[in-house]
Symmetry: C2
Subunit: 305 residues, 2 copies
């Protein structure tokens, strides 16, 4: 292990969008790191072998972590408990255990319960696309995106530093945060947007006066922006909502109150309330673009010939 | 006027994103058409002259339509009444009057009231970006997008055909629809998405436990998709909601019911309900991409190095 290579043998459990992007990012950054991949699906493992993902694809979850110094759970958060249970007794004593889940307090508690004597550094790279599976990943997915680490009081600081160096090495910006606070921040910046997008796409599919074909034809008026995130992996997102329930329900309550206020403004013709909000929200977009968290090009840079 | 040139003198009232895109599209398609532009803002008129928009920029709204055979209102729908009032007595008898507003029944009634003896062909090109003003327009904005015409019983079919030929000429796909039905379809495909995006961006700005800086930093988890349309022109959108009030309130009610159902599923840990919806919504995205109404590239084709 060189000074700039944080680990020498990495195991990735789960080879979907995030797991396969991680494997590609590691290969692109540190070709000397040996990466073992595992996925519960035969089909995904066969595909991963076919496209040369990882140094080795293992067919046995216990075997896949046997010599690792860094183990990353890249599974839907609802699968964390089962995967952890299957790994008990197979994880080397000095291996650091981490994950990439979108909720943290719940996942951290499961990992701590299964591995009370290991170094655990829960992680959440805030990056992704609406695509899923081993073919959807790419090496630059995490570049200039934030990766949030949520170590607790039992996490050795050196383990946190190594995991931080790992994410920095593949291009991410690293932040350390309390797991509960993470769950509240992500409930508003990620979980609630997904829930709302899924809802409106569902609402639009169920109208008796407007056909599905009309919804699709005229989607360029705004609706199509919502369909992108409503095309995200259903299992992953089901698990996120169940696992971060309290924070999601809190944010949803606030959103519903705000929506009711706008509903009332529309009903009573109160244009000033609408205009004041619509002016304020422009500034948020400007900041996101200025801080490099989105493309400055209009329309997300969609092509216009 | 050649067989393929539907009009010879066009007046565009309002030189924002849509009006300035129209002027550019006409110049690119039919260089022989004379286009007169007018905007209520001195600053916008000066800028339009500076960038060579239109054949001529007029400083007087009455003068700007004096010799036109096609007059397009490209103003926020709430300004329709005032603009129409100012034009009474100035519109040539055989000129066709049209607009580009996002709501149609209300606008059509105003135009009909002001010009009882003219041919009126209300239009709505379903196209746009989050940018505003005369610099934001571009000639290909309408290409492969739908333009919906909502003629009523009094509209001469020949006038509808000429306006349809105009929009086809600059690359749009033309559809004819009843104004009330238009307002219902657009309430779900455009107006409600904007209202929800504005709401969630507002909600995220008002949290006491999450800072504004955190919302911006972690926006790549989904939130940033909403900020794009919440950066759209505040005056335009205030007017759309007030002008299409009934249809927007109806769609909002349905959306709120569906959201409550998901809220309940999350609270009670009903993963099956969540998974069933999240699977169904994927198909809608697929259809939108297949029908050329959005980019097939993951993440809207945002650049990843």
């Amino acid at each position: 292990m060189s000074a700039t290579t944080p680990f020498s043998k990495i195991s990735i459990i789960g080879l979907g969008l995030i797991g396969s992007s991680l494997a590609r990012a590691i290969a692109a950054t540190w070709p000397n790191i040996s990466v073992t991949g595992y996925d519960a699906s035969n089909k995904v493992r066969a595909r991963a072998r076919g496209i040369g993902l990882c140094t080795r694809i293992s067919d046995d979850i216990g075997d896949s972590v046997g010599d690792a110094d860094f183990i990353v759970f890249a599974v839907p958060v609802g699968a964390t408990h089962e995967v952890a249970t299957n790994l008990i007794g197979h994880v080397p004593q000095d291996a650091i255990i981490s994950d990439v889940g979108s909720s943290k307090a719940n996942v951290a508690a499961i990992l701590r319960g299964a591995f009370p004597d290991h170094a655990i550094v829960p992680a959440h790279p805030v990056a992704g696309t609406e695509s899923s599976g081993p073919d959807a990943g790419f090496a630059s997915l995490f570049r200039d995106r934030w990766c949030i680490l949520t170590p607790d009081a039992e996490t050795p600081p050196k383990a946190t530093a190594r995991v931080g160096a790992f994410w920095s090495g593949i291009g991410a910006k690293v932040e350390i945060m309390d797991a509960q606070h993470h769950d509240m921040v992500l409930a508003i910046t990620s979980h609630l947007p997904h829930l709302i997008a899924y809802t409106i796409v569902g609402t639009a599919s169920d109208l008796e006066g407007v056909t599905q074909s009309e919804v699709i034809k005229y989607s360029a008026g705004g609706f199509r922006d919502f369909t992108r995130i409503a095309a995200s992996d259903p299992v992953m997102w089901r698990d996120v909502f169940l696992s971060n329930r309290d924070a999601v329900l809190d944010m949803l309550q606030r959103f519903s109150e705000d929506l009711s206020q706008l509903q009332r403004a529309i009903r009573w013709g109160d244009g000033d309330t609408l205009h004041a909000l619509f002016t304020r929200t422009r500034a948020v977009r400007r900041s996101i673009v200025e801080q490099g968290q989105d493309d400055a090009a209009p329309d997300f840079g969609r092509k216009h010939d």
